[in-house]
C-alpha cells in the first residue's frame, strides 16, 4: 500500500509542479530567456487567492481563477516592459535581472504579508478523505491530480492540436524560419507569456497545500521549477509533464523511503540526467 501512497502523492506533487512550470518551459524554449522570476508569479497567485478567499469570501477555485487573471495581466506587462530588452542580452544578464526581480518580489510580499507562511485556506469540500473503493485518499490531493490532468489535456489540445499550437511549436523549433513564414513570433510570445504566468498563478494558488505560500517561495522552489523545465527539455510541453511527474515521484519516494537523504537523491538524478542528455529528455528539434 505504501507504493500506492507514494505513487498518488508523487503524482499530486508533480501536477502542481507541472501547472506552475509549463509556462516557464515555453518562455525559456521560445525566446531562450532564462527567467528565474517565474516562481514569483506562482507566489503572487498564492497570496492573491488567499486574500480573495479570506477577505472577499471568494470560493476556492474562484480565488485561484482571479489569481490567474491578475498574474496573467502582470506577466503580460512584465513581458512588454522588462523582458523585451532582455532577449538580446546574454544569459548572465537574464539570470541577474530576473534574480533581482525575485528579491523585489520577496521584499514586497514580506512588506505586505509578513514573514510567516500563511495558513492554507482550504474549503470544506476539499478537507477530509475520499473513498476510492480500495482505499481512502485525501480529497485535496485527488483534486490536484484531477485538475492537473484536465489542464494537461487542455494544453495538449491547444499545443499539439490547434493552429495556435502549431505556430507555437514551429516558433520554438526555429524562430527565424517561423518569422520568415509570416508568424508573428513576438505576439505569440506575449500571449504565451501571459498564459504561462496565469497558469503559474493558478498553480501557486491551488498548490498552496503542498508548496506553502511564504515570501521566500519564489527562491525556495525556483530550482524545482527550473529542474522540471530543463530536464523536460526547453520548450517541450510533453517533456515538462514527464519531468514534473518524475520530480514529484522522486521527491516523494525519497521522503518516504530515504528521508535521511533529503533532496540529495533528486539532485543526484538531475545531475546524472543532465550529463547524459544536456538538452533534456524530450528536447524540441531546435536544441539538437
Amino acid at each position: 500500500m505504501l507504493i500506492l501512497t507514494i505513487l498518488l502523492d508523487g503524482i499530486a506533487y508533480g501536477m502542481v509542479l507541472f501547472i506552475i512550470s509549463v509556462g516557464l518551459t515555453v518562455t525559456m524554449g521560445l525566446m531562450r530567456v532564462v527567467n528565474l522570476a517565474h516562481g514569483s508569479f506562482a507566489m503572487l497567485g498564492g497570496y492573491l487567492s488567499s486574500v480573495m478567499i479570506r477577505h472577499y469570501d471568494a470560493p476556492f477555485i474562484g480565488g485561484a481563477l482571479i489569481a490567474a487573471l491578475v498574474c496573467g495581466a502582470l506577466g503580460g506587462l512584465a513581458e512588454l516592459t522588462v523582458y523585451r530588452p532582455l532577449y538580446r542580452k546574454g544569459e548572465l544578464a537574464q539570470v541577474l535581472l530576473t534574480f533581482g526581480m525575485i528579491f523585489i518580489s520577496i521584499a514586497s510580499m514580506t512588506l505586505i504579508f509578513g514573514t510567516t507562511p500563511i495558513a492554507e485556506s482550504m474549503p470544506k469540500w476539499l478537507e477530509g478523505l475520499v473513498d476510492l473503493g480500495f482505499r481512502t485518499y485525501p480529497t485535496y490531493r485527488l483534486f490536484l491530480i484531477v485538475v492537473g490532468a484536465l489542464l494537461a489535456l487542455g494544453l495538449y489540445f491547444i499545443i499539439e492540436r490547434s493552429l495556435f499550437g502549431a505556430r507555437l511549436r514551429a516558433s520554438v523549433d526555429d524562430p527565424g524560419m517561423a518569422r520568415a513564414l509570416g508568424i508573428n513570433v513576438n505576439l505569440l510570445f506575449t500571449l504565451t507569456f501571459i498564459g504561462g504566468c496565469a497558469l503559474a498563478g493558478f498553480g501557486g494558488a491551488i498548490g498552496a497545500g503542498i508548496l506553502p505560500i511564504e515570501p521566500f517561495y519564489a527562491l525556495r522552489y525556483l530550482v524545482l521549477f527550473l529542474v522540471v523545465v530543463v530536464i523536460g527539455g526547453l520548450g517541450s510541453f510533453r517533456g515538462s509533464l514527464a519531468a514534473a511527474l518524475a520530480v514529484g515521484l522522486i521527491e516523494t519516494t525519497g521522503k518516504y523511503l530515504l528521508p535521511q537523504l533529503g533532496s540529495f537523491l533528486l539532485w543526484l538524478i538531475v545531475f546524472g540526467l543532465l550529463l547524459w542528455r544536456p538538452y533534456g529528455l524530450l528536447p524540441p528539434k531546435s536544441a539538437s
Partner: protein
C-alpha cells in the same frame, strides 16, 4: 597570414602586461585599494571584524570573476566551493588542529580538487544545462551538509574553536588572534593579497588570454588548437580553490559555519557583487563587494525588507543601465578628464 605561435591581435589590443615590469606611473592607482585596506587597520577601530568580512567577500567575488568573468562559465552554484572550504576549515579545527594555516591549506586544496572534479564533468555542456548543473552540484553539497549532522552539525551549524596563534612554529610565540579582530584582519588581508597576485598573474598570462578567447568564441579557439575543455577545467579549479580559501577565512573569522555558506542565496549574492563592481576587472570584485557589504550593513540595520528592495533594485539597474558595473562607471568618469580617447580598460574586452 600570421606566423604560427604569434597571437592574432586586434588593433585596439594593449599588450598584456604581466609582472611588475609592465607597470607604469599612471598605474599608481593600483595602490589605492591596498592603501585603503591597510589604512583601515589603523583607523577602523571597532570595525575590524566587519572589514575582515568585506575582505573575505572580496576574495570570494574575485574567485567568481575568474570563472564567470574571465572564463565565461555561467555558474549559480559557486557557494558550493565557499561552503566546502568553510566546512573543511571548521571540521579541521574541531577534530584535528586549530592552526589556522593548516585548515586554510586543506580547505583550499579540497575545494580546488572538488572544482576540478565537478568541472571535468560539467564543462562539456553549455548554456542552461551547465548553469543547472552548477545549481545541482551546489544543492547536493547543501544536502550533504544538511544531513550529515554528526560531522557538520546540520542546520544548527558548526561552532569553530578559536584559532591557535598564527605562525607559532619553532618556538616562536606567533601572532595571537585578539578579540577585536585586528590580527585576523591583517591575516585575511595578506591572504587576499597573495591570491590577488596569483589571479593577476593568471589573467594576464597567455593562459588567461586563451580563456578570453574561449569565452568569446570556443569553436574558433578549438579550431586553432586550444585545449578548450582543459583550460576551462583548470580555471574552474583555480577559482574553486580561491573560493575555498574565502570560506576557510570566514570559518576562522566568524567561528561559525552554517548552511548559509552553501545556499543559493549566497551564490546569487556573490554574482551580484561581481556584476555591481564590474566583471573582468579584478578590482571590480573589490569595489562591488565593499560597496555591497557597506550598503547592506547600512540598509539592513534599518530594515531587512528595505534591504531586499535595495539589492533587487541595484541588480536590475546594473543590468539594464550600468554595463560594466561601478568600475565601468569610474572609467567613464575618468574618461571625462583625460584627453586620450584610447581605452585603458584593465585587460580584457
Amino acid at each position: 597570414m600570421t606566423e604560427p605561435g604569434k597571437p592574432i591581435l586586434s588593433p585596439a589590443f594593449t599588450p598584456p602586461g604581466s609582472g611588475l615590469a609592465a607597470l607604469q606611473l599612471r598605474d599608481i592607482w593600483h595602490l589605492a585599494p591596498w592603501a585603503i585596506a591597510i589604512g583601515f587597520y589603523f583607523v577602523g577601530d571597532g570595525f575590524h571584524s566587519f572589514g575582515t568580512n568585506i575582505l573575505i567577500m572580496i576574495l570570494f567575488t574575485l574567485s567568481l570573476d575568474l570563472a564567470l568573468g574571465y572564463a565565461g562559465i555561467i555558474t549559480l552554484g559557486h557557494a558550493a566551493f565557499f561552503g566546502a572550504g568553510a566546512y573543511t576549515a571548521g571540521i579541521v579545527a574541531v577534530h584535528m588542529t586549530t592552526d589556522p594555516l593548516v585548515g586554510l591549506a586543506l580547505a583550499t586544496v579540497l575545494a580546488g580538487v572538488l572544482g576540478i572534479i565537478t568541472g571535468m564533468l560539467i564543462l562539456h555542456t553549455q548554456g542552461v544545462a551547465m548553469f543547472m548543473l552548477t545549481l545541482a552540484i551546489a544543492s547536493m553539497f547543501y544536502e550533504v551538509a544538511n544531513q550529515w549532522r554528526s560531522l557538520t552539525g546540520g542546520d544548527d551549524g558548526l561552532t569553530v574553536p578559536r584559532s591557535a596563534p598564527l605562525l607559532a612554529y619553532f618556538g616562536f610565540a606567533g601572532f595571537r588572534f585578539d578579540f577585536r579582530g585586528m590580527t585576523g584582519y591583517l591575516y585575511t588581508l595578506s591572504v587576499v593579497f597573495l591570491w590577488f597576485l596569483i589571479a593577476w598573474r593568471v589573467v594576464k598570462s597567455p593562459f588567461g588570454r586563451s580563456l578570453d578567447g574561449i569565452r568569446q568564441n570556443p569553436r574558433r579557439m578549438r579550431a586553432i588548437g586550444t585545449p578548450v575543455w582543459w583550460r576551462l577545467v583548470a580555471m574552474y579549479g583555480l577559482s574553486a580553490a580561491m573560493a575555498g580559501t574565502a570560506g576557510a577565512l570566514q570559518a576562522h573569522a566568524t567561528r561559525l559555519v552554517g548552511l548559509t555558506s552553501l545556499n543559493l542565496e549566497l551564490s546569487g549574492i556573490v554574482a551580484v557583487m561581481l556584476v555591481l563592481g564590474g566583471e573582468r576587472r579584478l578590482y571590480g570584485a573589490f569595489v562591488g563587494a565593499a560597496f555591497f557589504m557597506i550598503v547592506q550593513d547600512w540598509a539592513a540595520a534599518k530594515n531587512p525588507v528595505y534591504w531586499m528592495f535595495v539589492i533587487g533594485g541595484l541588480l536590475m539597474a546594473v543590468v539594464l543601465f550600468l554595463e560594466g558595473g561601478l568600475m565601468g562607471l569610474l572609467d567613464k568618469i575618468a574618461g571625462l578628464f583625460t584627453r586620450k580617447p584610447e581605452q585603458k580598460a584593465g585587460g580584457a574586452k
